[in-house]
């Protein structure tokens, strides 16, 4: 379970990245985190992996309070959470297999176990036939699948995805979302920060909307309401 209790995050010289956020996400939920750039979505996710600390309030992941978590236990918290990034964050000098295996190697798993689990996960994300390729030999969607495989290979209870479809075309984004649904159906809590109104509206999952660090809505079957200004800009881009 994830819980934010009156959480604010301020960066010196800037306005609040998050302001008085109180929210609870139960185990096994699929939640979209939406909002324009600068809304605080990434800060929300970074607080969960203790990449940042809250300025005020408390963040809980299961029974662990992030603010008081000792340095020596941070890596244990991060092992509970898989993270998928918009820019993939793959190691370019390692193959798909090695990138994914890294998630298990850091846990100290034996090689046979690593082999078995990596092949299972690569099969799940549809990359079984590309395990020997290096990231630069892959398409963007395949790189993101590799990132997802690496995030879930250690069977985390929570999966965070920060704009995972941001660099992908609509079809590939849809494929990635299908993988997230599959992972969620296995009991993993999924929190996905996104700009992609299409996938949010198609999936009709719980949606938390942020704007300038403030939580403006939290709906069970939320919709991404794109403002007229953005709609107009998007239609110009499409033309």
């Amino acid at each position: 379970m994830i819980r934010f209790e009156h959480v604010s995050k301020n960066f010196s010289g800037h306005s609040s990245a998050l302001s008085d956020i109180t929210v609870e996400i139960k185990d096994g939920e699929f939640v979209f985190l939406i909002g324009p750039s600068g809304a605080g979505k990434t800060t929300f996710l970074r607080l969960l992996i203790r990449d940042q600390l809250p300025s005020e309030g408390k963040v809980f992941v299961d029974d662990w309070e992030i603010g008081t978590l000792h340095k020596s236990r941070i890596h244990l918290l991060r092992r509970k959470i898989g993270m998928v990034f918009q820019d993939f964050k793959l190691l370019m000098d390692r193959t798909v297999y090695e990138n994914v295996a890294l998630g298990l190697d850091i846990l100290g798993k034996k090689q046979e176990e690593i082999d078995k689990r990596v092949l299972e996960v690569l099969d799940l994300v549809g990359l079984s036939d590309k395990h020997n390729l290096f990231p630069l030999q892959l398409a963007a969607g395949e790189m993101q699948r590799t990132g997802i495989a690496r995030a879930i290979v250690g069977a985390p209870s929570i999966l965070l995805a920060d704009e995972p479809t941001g660099n992908l075309d609509q079809q590939t984004a849809s494929d990635i979302l299908t993988i997230f649904q599959q992972i969620n159906s296995l009991g993993t809590t999924v929190i996905m920060a996104t700009h992609n109104a299409g996938i949010v509206n198609d999936l009709k999952k719980r949606t938390i909307a942020l704007k300038k660090g403030v939580m403006v809505s939290d709906e069970e079957k939320g919709r991404y309401r794109v403002s007229p200004k953005v709609k107009e800009k998007k239609s110009h881009e499409d033309d």
Partner: protein
């Protein structure tokens, strides 16, 4: 972890070479000074263990003169041992020392060799107090003090040790700084990879370990190469070393044969010491760099 460290090393051979070269020079010089210091200390201990004063008697002196002085000294409570060496004993020692030179043996008889007393004081400070007693004793011809030899040797040993410690320390500092610089560069190059590892939940040791091993590897390899050179030099110079260090029984037994158990144990122990110190020195350089440039949170 070892394979990651090995990958780090293979991918930057020039940096690895620089670190190993620096470590090699440190251990070459440090090793040579260490052996020189140990040898000179063994020589020093040898001389210190010898009688501190040797009293030679005139030809006219009787055995009673020697016995009388021996008793006087023993009664003083300041001597650890007193040994009487008669003319016959002196001849036996002379014969043993010159057994390979028959000409010298032919020319010498017990008559021309002086009888003597070999005296060791309980404490060197008693030597001054014993001196007038010995000089005033009947039949004494000459008094030879081992102290002069020991003092000279001590001075040289101190000088060698002092210079060795200063030079080896400077070189060790240089090696640590070079290792530190190389590891710092590698941390900077691998910053993205380290960030990814942190986000994936890698433990601090999983991230730091390969860097520590890498530094340790540079130190150990530098030490190994230095050991090869030093061991080779010792084997090559063995006859020469044996000639002037052979008077010390410990060194004589070590240097007698390059295949003897004593020699192999000594060079093996020296190798172990150098490798261990090398690994620690390199690892220390890495740990300093990690503490300075890699904060894991």
């Amino acid at each position: 972890m070892i394979d990651i460290a090995w990958k780090h090393i293979r991918r930057s051979p020039y940096q690895a070479f620089a670190a190993v070269l620096s470590m090699f020079l440190t251990f070459l010089l440090g090793g040579i000074f260490f052996l020189t210091t140990v040898s000179s200390m063994l020589v020093l201990y040898y001389f210190e263990s010898k009688p501190q004063i040797t009293v030679f008697f005139t030809d006219k002196a009787s055995a009673d003169d020697a016995t009388s002085l021996e008793k006087t000294l023993e009664n003083s409570g300041k001597v650890a041992s007193v040994k009487y060496v008669s003319k016959e004993d002196a001849l036996a020692i002379y014969r043993e020392q010159n057994k390979n030179d028959p000409l010298l043996l032919e020319m010498v008889t017990a008559d021309i060799l002086p009888a003597s007393l070999e005296i060791s004081a309980k404490d060197p400070k008693f030597l001054q107090e014993l001196e007038p007693v010995i000089k005033e004793a009947s039949g004494v011809e000459e008094v030879v003090y081992q102290k002069d030899v020991v003092d000279t040797l001590l001075m040289w040993t101190k000088a060698v040790r002092g210079i060795g410690i200063i030079l080896a320390s400077l070189l060790a500092l240089d090696s640590i700084l070079i290792t530190m610089t190389i590891i710092s560069m590698k941390i900077a190059i691998k910053r993205d990879e380290i960030d990814i590892l942190k986000l994936l939940g890698a433990s601090p040791w999983y991230i730091r370990g390969p860097f520590v091993l890498e530094g340790g590897f540079y130190g150990a390899v530098g030490a190994l190469v230095a050991w090869c050179i030093i061991a080779g030099l010792v084997v090559w110079l063995r006859p020469f070393l044996l000639e002037f260090l052979g008077i010390v029984p410990t060194l004589e037994s070590v240097l007698a044969s390059p295949t003897s158990k004593e020699f192999l144990l000594s060079v093996g122990g020296f190798l172990g010491g150098l490798l261990g110190t090398g690994f620690l020195l390199g690892s220390f350089g890495s740990i300093v760099a990690l503490g300075r440039y890699l904060k894991i949170e």
